[in-house]
Amino acid sequence: MKKIFLSLFLFAACIICLGSEVSAASQNDEYITVYSAEIRTANYIKDSDHQNITLAYSTQDSIVQFDRFGFLRPGLAESWEIADDNVTYTFHLRDGATWSTWDGKIYAKVTAQDFVDSMKWVLTKENASTHSNTIYNSIKNAEEYYNGAVTDFGEVGIKALDDKTVQYVLKAPLPYFIPQISFTAFFPLNGKFMAEKGDRFGSSKENLLYSGPYLLSEFEPQQQRVLIANPNYWNKDKTTVKTLTYIYNAEASAIGPELFLRGEINDIILPGGIVDEWMSDPAKKAMIYPNALTNMTYFMAFNFEPNYEEQYAPSDWIVAVNDLNFRKSLFHALDRESAVATIDPYNPARLLVNTLTRKALVSYGGLDYTQIGGLKAYSDTESFDAKKASEYKGKALDSLKGRVSFPVKIVMPYNSSDVEKSNRAQIIEQQMEGVLGTDYIDIILVSHPATGYTAEVLHAGRYSIMEAPWGPDFVDPLGSLDPMLSWAYGPKYSRVYLAKDIQDSDGQCKFEKMVKTATAEVSDLKKRYEMFAEAETLLLDNALFIPFYMSGGGYRASYLDPFSGTTGQMGRYGAFQMKEIAILDKPVGMDGYPDAVKAYEAQRAEAAIAKN
């Protein structure tokens, strides 16, 4: 009965207060947005989901950082040196770095031991951290410790030499280790606090310590998350936006744009379907700018070991996919721009990648990796070419005659929970069949729910061609080529090593051999990149996959300065960091964006000179 009265009272209160409060966002020190994907835990060394990493960059600090131009700078470590053996890295920590509790009290100093404790936690199998492989792929004896072959953690390649000095020992020289150590997997952790909280570490704002620019002042999953500036952060002067508010809404993409227009939030990514409307309205156009691309790329994988129902004739597919002309006809038939118009209808070309390794991942002497050697030709030309496609179709019709029955059935699964991807699948089917003719190929769309999509479709090989995602874990072409290798990670992607065209006389995969020699080259970066580029060119020459697009992109209605905020090892392609973010009085807008880019590039060039 009490509750009924309470509710009645509340209802009365509602009526009385009707219309009394209308909030307005867009102050320069407050960031508000809505989100629909919730994190599982705030434990940053447990999960490697996108949302988790984004939060970790706000609440924690890394040992080294990248400024807003993507240049390396000191973080928790003031300085570091690499020994001549190329495997021993020594970091000297700064004085002022502290652990704070959620309410802003200093808990302890950040010490070298914290890095050791963190790695030990990640490498303890029972903790089931998804970061463990990132660490054991680089650190000495880490994998052995994880698997139990080594039981003494002292043998693992990490040591606290004293309170302020931490030393890493790698299992082999890695040219990309310094950038990689800025990743969440290597973040420190206060061992005492962890021991106190045990399993509950990261499950609430109280169960987390903060070494970064923000504290979690409210953390109510599926409701809201409020971050406030950390008063104890060593670099707190650079935190201009004092509050970050994230409001949960299961339909964030549907109602977010309207909330933005009403001034209730000041940052939202527009769903692809409504971009038209925002572009055609000048007032709205002045509030959006192109969203950054991410580190994740998609390529169209050809499956060399199909594992699907007989009705789709997998044996025909095996014959066809091993025919170079057939692959090339598909390679040139895919109009990638029209396919990615589902994400960005105005500038789809921006999303495209022409190689497996994305643009601006690595460069040597000012030359981007994708311009090295044979890759240049591919980077500079568009793969879609209807004329070439039908040319190769003619050749394939000859060479495959009598060996397969036309049209060749091509199974293309798609994730039916994702409207954008489902729409893209429909576009690709009709577009490719339109170019090549339904007498030649028959693309069969097979829907699959999001659950088990990766394991049951991609890893199980239940496809002929499909959009496969990959993002390099570290700044090296090797990181991008991983999905094509038979030994990298347990699951297999396209099983390219089974392609007959790139096999040596002894039955070994030429491509994998080339990657192995390139990986072994650690001292001469130029040579290393050239060798990787050569291996990648081999794949492209044989049309063993179709480079497709980069994820992210689209448009963002936002008051944010698009070029503020720190970056990560992947530069502006990595997880979006709120550290040192700036909010403008008025959105950049589509018209102001080109100038903003120019200004940023100019400042970046200046900073580069100053740095040298």
Partner: protein, 314 residues
């Protein structure tokens, strides 16, 4: 009555056990990928096995079930495995309950206050303007998909009345729209039921007799029709109240209300077995309690019904 109650209770417990067993087995048939987030694509076999073992999913099924049941008997629903790792289920559900209860009760009260008089009016003026208008409303509300209806209400009413679009505990004005959305359906239900039972009652012979005797129509309405029409209403009400309290998935997700409504869907999508089991248990218990309370209420409202229970059949 006591015998009947006991029998019903026993039956309910059996139902719940069967149900939990079914859900338990069904959840274990789900693909393992569902237990992981987007990081799954980069995990190797050893890592996957380690994670599954840590979640307790590699124990024999029977052992898992035994552990779960004995946990429940000790009042422990276990900890979440994927929704909010390592957080006890009770801690996840507890902060959500008040929102659902407040919204549910407030909406029920509004609906009863509007729906019942509306139904009575409709019955009294059967076939005339008020009845037509009311029926039009009922049909409209019942037929327009809530998925469409609520988003329109949210968009137009919030700009028309200058109300916030999203719910915020600290802003009382933000309660209005979700309450309205939650109530329109119930108002239609109550009005419709009330009207139907009243009309049924009005057609009965004893009413005709009462009219023939010359009883005033108000006293026929209050002393006979209303009282008797309330009997079937009494049976429907508890279930409807409980269903409202367990939340509306549409309203809660549109207005960002941290209630119980969308929790089950989220838990199933994340394959958080302990959470799904706990929620199914709660929702089913609520359903059972609703039916049971309905029967009891009806028996109180209508003394004749008690005798029927001696037979023990429904």
């Amino acid at each position: 009555m006591i015998k009947y109650t006991l029998k019903r209770l026993l039956q309910s417990v059996v139902t719940l056990v069967v149900l939990v067993l079914i859900i338990f087995l069904m959840m274990r048939l789900m693909p393992e990928e569902g237990y992981f987030g987007e990081g799954y694509i980069r995990m190797d076999r050893v890592q996957i096995e380690a994670a599954l073992t840590q979640m307790g999913l590699r124990d024999p099924i029977l052992a898992q079930f035994y552990k779960y049941i004995s946990g429940i008997l000790h009042g422990d629903f276990g900890t979440s495995i994927t929704f909010r790792e390592k957080v006890p289920i009770a801690e996840i559900i507890k902060p959500r309950l008040p929102y659902s209860i407040y919204f549910g009760l407030a909406s029920i009260i509004i609906s009863l206050l509007i729906g019942i008089p509306m139904g009575i009016m409709m019955a009294q003026f059967k076939g005339r303007a008020p009845d037509m208008l009311g029926s039009g409303y009922v049909v409209l509300v019942k037929a327009v998909a809530p998925a469409v209806c609520y988003i329109f209400l949210q968009l137009y009413l919030s700009s028309l009345l200058k109300l916030p679009m999203l719910f915020n505990v600290r802003k009382p004005a933000s309660w209005i729209l979700p309450l309205l959305c939650m109530s329109i359906g119930n108002i239609a239900n109550y009005a419709m039921w009330m009207r139907r039972y009243m009309v049924d009652e009005l057609n009965r012979d004893y009413i005709k007799l009462a009219m023939a005797k010359g009883m005033s129509s108000t006293s026929i309405m209050t002393r006979h029709v209303l009282r008797n029409a309330f009997v079937p209403m009494a049976q429907l009400l508890p279930t409807s109240i409980l269903l409202t309290i367990t939340g509306s998935i549409y309203v809660e997700s549109l207005f960002s209300i941290p209630g119980m409504g969308g929790l089950l869907v989220l838990a199933i999508q994340r394959q958080d077995n302990p959470l799904v089991q706990a929620l199914v248990l709660i929702f089913s218990s609520v359903g059972i309690i609703g039916l049971f309370a309905g029967d009891v209420l009806m028996a109180i409202a209508d003394p004749r019904i008690k005798t029927e229970y001696s037979g023990g059949s429904r």
